[in-house]
């Protein structure tokens, strides 16, 4: 079979678009006995970046190790003069943890030239693995028109708001597409997924009811973020504000915000850019206690500690998660259910993003 081994990651063999189904069946017939096809979802990946077909194939090879799916990888050149579609099929195979059997996810790759938006719905819809949910990983900024034909089929749309230039405009597009599709599309922002471990690390300080009184005493939050990740820091602030019922009071420049809690307590937020991880450190001060979450030097662990400011503390270590697309996607694909908390967080800081 023309399967992609774990190290080659090619986009596979070219096929006629009309014969994709036939060619896939042939591919599996040839490998019968040696490999098992597995699929839990359709994962369509859309990008307009030149060369993305190849780079996304590398990502899919790794993502499918943990998430069996039918991958539909699309590279679009919307400015091409001639319309056209080229297609390839391949399989990402790896040895399952259960034994020595090869478990394979199939990938259908497309290069769309010209008229992208009109071709896209048909390309995706005609190549879905039936009865499985459709996850659409949109790697570009959204632009009009957002085709309702496609969106009506999408179960989860995955995007990364971190590089967005105009958050409000982008969210407006997504939300209107969602409304027009008239179905429950779950919005999955990888910029929000990026915050998972840091949110988890901070949340665990407050698991015991005896620590809940400290919520009312929070007076200061400092967040250090890497260059380009201000929006990530703001989403974090939005999360705190939504969950603890703070409302925005005023801003001083880009980096100093002021919120007020439901009990009238003023909370000063400072957002600083530094070298390091997307959210490199955060310190929350409640009364005389500081709760700190800092990236450890080794990179993939967080040091969490609490104590009186200035006193020596013994930090505990927790997983930090990684900021690469494979890790973020894996994290996102592991989760089910809607992201209400994300939507609430966005509401609190939409105007600041």
């Amino acid at each position: 079979m023309p399967a992609v081994s774990e190290k080659t990651y090619s986009i596979g063999v070219p096929v006629e678009v009309a014969k994709i189904d036939h060619e896939l069946k042939k591919l599996w017939r040839e490998s019968e006995g040696a490999a098992t096809r597995a699929s839990l979802m359709n994962l369509a990946v859309y990008s307009e970046a030149p060369g993305s077909l190849n780079s996304n194939t590398q990502l899919m090879a790794r993502i499918t190790e943990d998430h069996a799916c039918r991958a539909i990888v699309i590279e679009a050149d919307c400015k091409a003069e001639d319309d056209g579609v080229d297609a390839w099929i391949s399989a990402h195979c790896h040895v399952s943890r259960a034994g020595s059997k090869q478990v394979c996810s199939e990938q259908i790759s497309f290069r769309l030239n010209g008229g992208c938006t009109s071709q896209l719905p048909n390309i995706v819809l005609s190549n879905l693995d039936s009865d499985l949910p459709l996850y659409l990983w949109w790697q570009n900024e959204f632009h009009e028109p957002m085709d309702p034909q496609l969106w009506a089929w999408v179960d989860r749309v995955i995007y990364d708001s971190q590089p967005w230039q105009d958050f409000r405009a982008q969210m407006r597009l997504v939300e209107s597409a969602q409304a027009e599709a008239k179905q429950r599309i779950i919005l999955c922002d990888l910029n929000w997924t990026r915050l998972d471990k840091v949110r988890f690390a901070l949340a665990q300080f407050f698991d015991h009811p005896a620590s809940h009184h400290r919520f009312a005493k929070i007076k200061k939050v400092r967040i250090d973020h890497a260059s380009g990740f201000r929006s990530t820091a703001l989403l974090f602030v939005g999360w705190l504000a939504a969950q603890l019922n703070w409302r925005a009071e005023k801003t001083e420049g880009r980096n100093k915000l002021q919120f007020v809690s439901s009990s009238g307590q003023r909370i000063d937020i400072e957002i600083r850019q530094c070298d390091g991880q997307p959210i490199h450190e955060l310190v929350l001060t409640a009364g005389d206690i500081e709760f700190a979450v800092t990236h450890a030097k080794c990179g993939d662990l967080l040091e969490v500690s609490r104590g009186i400011a200035g006193e020596k503390r013994v930090p505990q270590l927790m997983p930090a998660g990684k900021n690469d697309p494979v890790s973020l996607m894996s994290e996102e694909l592991m989760r089910g259910g809607p992201h209400h908390v994300y939507l609430h967080a966005v509401e609190r800081v939409r105007d600041l993003l």
């Binding site: 069996a68 988890f200 908390v341």
Partner: protein, 515 residues
């Protein structure tokens, strides 16, 4: 299991919303009695390390090893680190162990020494102050059952069974939960002298397995099975727990226990309960356990004649496993040369309730069988043989594989391609390992987190244990009677047990599944 209704569950933490679908484990000191033993080194501490490495363990959790041997904290930590490096499902990272290891302490004392418990009180108070464990205590009984009474008595005398406001105390008890109904009741009485039932967590690691938990999901989250899950559509049920291993180093315990007490009374009956129970009113611990107890109460009582006709016991003789010759049970180290201990049991039993009336349940468990596998299979009744001019001999079978290669398969009939009407069985197969790349946590990881969260769903309740013994006791009594003792059959190691076990089904016109 999915929803925690424990009364001591804390107020929800608003920052946790959307981050976790399981109940949150709370800070505590885990005191392990018998901390220098195998269970602590092979299972408990590696499990706790894994949940710490996955970020699931609150930082304010400490482990206090309580045992007789003289040791210092540092030596104990080194021993546990070495064991964890050997037995952990994920590699040990130095940075994580460094902080995890600092939460481990050793407390040397005899189990019967009162002053040892008084010192323990002081030590735990100190740990509360330095590590923020908030007075929460989880006592894990990894010592032999003969030590339980002394430990419980002294815990009570030292006031360690008492909860302070806003804190909790729980006790985890490892099996065996007695050796018969009388001893189980006595053990429960002893436990309840010091702890309430709500504080008591009886651990059966089978229930911590992903596939065991998935039985409820399969049955109650898939509407297609509900109408079929009864006497009208099910011909019979088989539950098999086979292992290739012999008695190994456990002869001391096994000689006095045997397969019936070691496996059937707990693991197999638990699997039966999950397979046969009615839908619970909700997913709280007591709702699920209420339904399980009803199954045990509905098991048809044995008469002496029933036991002779419906229970087969066997013992492995010499044979071969994977091509290598192996000793017979009686030749194993520390086994009596004329031992009557059963290493194999096959049973035919009935659940006398509306759903399962007259559906035979066949169970078999054994050591030194050809392969290791634990599976539940539901054999559906035949379709009427009027259309295809052929009696379809193979039944539709739904198989739930508990271990290894966890998954579910369904055997259906299909037409063989061709001009004739040739029908053959085909298998639809779902493998956890194929569809989900992520490895499941070990059973002990799940169960320890549940105990720290106050979720008792996957732990056996007192009445479950006692009902199970009430069902098992008559068999043991028949086997140990002075006359008309049912025969102990011998089977060669590497075979599927004695022929009498096959006859048990053959008499009903059925056969064991070929595994």
């Amino acid at each position: 299991m999915l929803m925690n209704r424990a009364t001591d569950q804390p107020e929800p933490n608003p920052l946790r919303e959307g981050l976790a679908t399981r109940a949150v484990p709370q800070p505590c000191s885990i005191v392990i009695f018998g901390a220098t033993g195998d269970l602590t080194h092979r299972k408990l501490v590696p499990a706790l390390y894994n949940v710490a490495a996955d970020g699931e363990l609150p930082p304010a959790v400490t482990i206090v090893g309580f045992a007789r041997r003289k040791k210092r904290d540092e030596e104990f930590r080194r021993d546990l680190e070495e064991a964890t490096r050997k037995f952990s499902r994920q590699p040990v990272r130095d940075e994580i162990w460094k902080t995890f290891g600092q939460s481990i302490f050793y407390h040397q004392s005899e189990f019967g020494d009162e002053s040892g418990y008084e010192q323990l009180v002081k030590r735990l108070h100190e740990i509360d102050k330095t590590h923020g464990t908030r007075g929460n205590r989880l006592f894990y009984f990894a010592a032999g059952p003969d030590q339980f009474e002394a430990i419980l008595k002294h815990l009570k005398a030292a006031g360690l069974n008492e909860t302070r406001k806003g804190s909790w105390v729980r006790v985890i008890v490892e099996k065996p939960f007695g050796t018969d109904l009388a001893s189980a009741r006595e053990l429960n009485r002893i436990i309840h002298n010091s702890f309430t039932e709500e504080q008591t967590y009886r651990i059966d690691h089978f229930l911590g397995k992903e596939t065991a938990q998935n039985i409820l999901v399969l049955r109650f989250a898939n509407a297609i099975f509900a109408p079929l899950w009864n006497t009208h559509y099910i011909d019979h049920v088989q539950i098999t727990a086979a292992e290739t291993l012999g008695v190994g180093t456990r002869a001391g315990y096994y000689e006095g226990a045997g397969a019936l007490r070691d496996m059937v009374q707990n693991h197999l009956l638990q699997l039966l309960c999950l397979t046969a129970m009615e839908p619970p009113t909700d997913l709280s611990a007591d709702s699920i356990r209420d339904e399980k107890v009803k199954v045990l109460r509905s098991l048809r009582h044995w008469s002496r004649n029933d036991i002779a006709a419906s229970v087969v016991r066997g013992q492995y003789a010499k044979g071969a496993i994977h091509g290598d010759p192996v000793l017979g049970y009686r030749q194993e180290e520390n086994v009596n040369a004329d031992s009557q201990t059963e290493t194999f049991v096959a049973l035919r039993l009935f659940i006398d309730n509306w759903r399962w009336a007259d559906v035979p349940i066949y169970m078999r468990v054994g050591k030194r069988l050809p392969k290791s596998a634990t599976e539940i299979s539901i054999h559906f009744k035949k379709a009427p043989a009027v259309l295809f001019n052929k009696d379809l001999h193979d039944l539709n079978v739904l198989v739930i594989r508990i271990q290894p290669d966890e998954g579910i398969s369904l055997r259906i009939h299909a037409k063989v391609p061709g001009t004739s009407f040739h029908i053959e069985p085909v298998k639809m197969d779902f493998h956890y390992g194929t569809s989900f790349g992520k490895a499941s946590p070990e059973a002990y990881e799940r169960l320890l987190l549940d105990a720290m969260s106050g979720d008792a769903t996957l732990f056996a309740r007192r009445d479950e244990v006692e009902q199970a013994w009430a069902f098992i006791d008559p068999i043991e009594e028949a086997w140990h009677a002075k006359k008309d003792v049912p025969e102990l059959f011998f089977y060669p190691a590497g075979s599927w047990g004695p022929e009498a076990a096959d006859d048990l089904l053959a008499r009903d016109g059925r056969a064991w599944r070929k595994l």
